[in-house]
Symmetry: C2
Subunit: 309 residues, 2 copies
């Protein structure tokens, strides 16, 4: 077993520890240049996320991306695949993983020069797609997601060594106060909150529907929210959220009539590839954590880049 900087899923509870990795990474000691200015970088260091309301709202691609999702929702054949996760109660689509391998439009989006430029800046150089997905919440019935750090899961269940990944989340529909918007705890990315309890075999089959293992205890959540509260960015389809892999987040159920769907592209540094899972379980499937099909994303050399704006 490798030495573990971030032990978690232990039998006995462990204390919260300080983050051991930079928030904005550098390549060979010097920051990567890109579209984000010092003020935005400072906010990302402080909060663990950046919100760009309506950044891509005027792009004609937005309608097409939503069309692709609506087609997948109706695709009863695909719903049986393991990378399609359905809602426990309604049976409707909850998540679809590997969306960039299913839809050519979503694939092109992973190479959008503006997003990729920001991500390379945050991660300090070359990156690849570690995971992609859409989280979909049907009107009236879409279920919520419990509090968690993605890194905590990716580290223990997938073997991601360091905190050097970022999620770019594109709103495919409006995210408003009532349709189950993503909530984040500002500043929580600066702490690693270990979670108690061993990971059961094939935990992901449960956790993708309703996460129980890998949820921080209430004392830790209370301490972290006491400092800076909770934030739930709201905006139209085409808004973009960049959030650090260790930022604690959750989202409530959707009791409104308005569907909510967000796409997530998780970019990981090429220097942070998967090892054996630190929690000792077998690696999860490729659609949850890329191991084999790693493809460095280079916006200059790849054809077919998207100009979202």
């Amino acid at each position: 077993m490798l030495f573990d900087e971030y032990p978690t899923r232990t039998e006995d509870p462990l204390e919260m520890v300080e983050r051991k990795d930079p928030v904005v990474h550098a390549s060979n000691g010097s920051m990567v240049r890109g579209p984000l200015g010092e003020k935005a970088l400072g906010r990302y260091r402080r909060d663990g996320f950046l919100w760009f309301e309506d950044l891509f709202s005027d792009s004609p691609l937005m309608t097409e991306l939503l069309e692709d999702l609506r087609a997948l929702e109706r695709d009863t054949e695909s719903l049986r695949n393991e990378n399609f996760v359905t809602d426990r109660h309604s049976g409707a689509l909850r998540s679809v993983f590997g969306i960039h391998e299913i839809s050519e439009r979503f694939d092109r989006l992973t190479r959008d020069p503006l997003v990729l430029g920001m991500v390379r800046q945050l991660l300090g150089g070359d990156v690849y797609i570690h995971q992609s997905r859409i989280n979909d919440k049907a009107g009236f019935s879409g279920g919520g997601f419990n509090w968690h750090s993605d890194f905590e899961t990716w580290h223990s269940e997938d073997g991601m060594p360091r905190m050097r990944a970022v999620s770019a989340s594109l709103m495919l529909t409006d995210n408003n106060e009532f349709n189950g918007p993503l909530m984040l705890i500002p500043g929580s990315h600066r702490h690693f909150v270990p979670c108690q309890g061993a990971t059961p075999t094939n935990n992901w089959k449960e956790s993708l529907k309703d996460q129980r293992i890998g949820v921080p205890d209430e004392q830790a959540l209370e301490a972290l929210t006491q400092r800076r509260g909770i934030r739930a960015p709201k905006g139209g389809a085409g808004s973009l959220l960049l959030f650090e892999c260790n930022t604690l987040h959750a989202s409530p159920q959707n009791l409104s009539p308005w569907p909510r769907a967000n796409a997530f592209f998780v970019y990981n540094s090429v220097e942070n590839g998967m090892q054996q899972p630190y929690g000792g379980t077998a690696p999860r499937p490729e659609f949850l954590a890329t191991r084999e099909r790693i493809r460095e994303l280079d916006m200059l050399n790849e054809g077919g880049t998207v100009a979202m704006r």
Copy 2:
């Protein structure tokens, strides 16, 4: 069986109908005078609710009321009583009914001159307490409430003849964006939305934990929210919400660390006393719908009125 102005709980679906009762009632043809001005009355007619942010926030009684609730939460003996409803998942207190018969402080509150003055104005004269309760949502675990009109239940399961009741809801804690605040559909009180499906025997034992029967269909909710959206008033402990008995409302789960507790006093006109339940089931217990212990509330003749401010 009495002629039913508002049929519901039928085997086949019924269409939404216009409300057949006034929203602001008059006594012998003339409006009752009181603390609400024309503008506030007009808003109540249009929206079906009135929000008074922090109206009683400075009252020393607020702390005492919350103390009474915290004592009830710890009272494991009482938790077994039928008027104490626990959360299906966490086992924590979800609702306590008949709070004005349990706590002398809450009882006094039902005769607060300002609240009673407003309520008499809205209902056109003398009133009594039809039901009182606290809905309590523990941090991290408090469950939500599905969309419903109180009147739809009170009419079919309790025999309330007309729409001539109002709920006064006092926030006992902060109600914020994240701790499961009450959501209302403005204008929905102007329509009666029949609900499909017969009422099972002792339905209340289920519905107080998780309402399934008496929930409007999605088409009706969508049509009503399309016009005027959804509103979730936010404010500190001591804020007051008055909402018409037929205004559709719901509330999401509480994923935040901040507990949310709201007290509800349902005032009914003395001219609108319970008949046999229109849905044909046996009357529900007294703590859900007062039949025997009716006591007219008169702020002038009762000792011990509260001056909340």
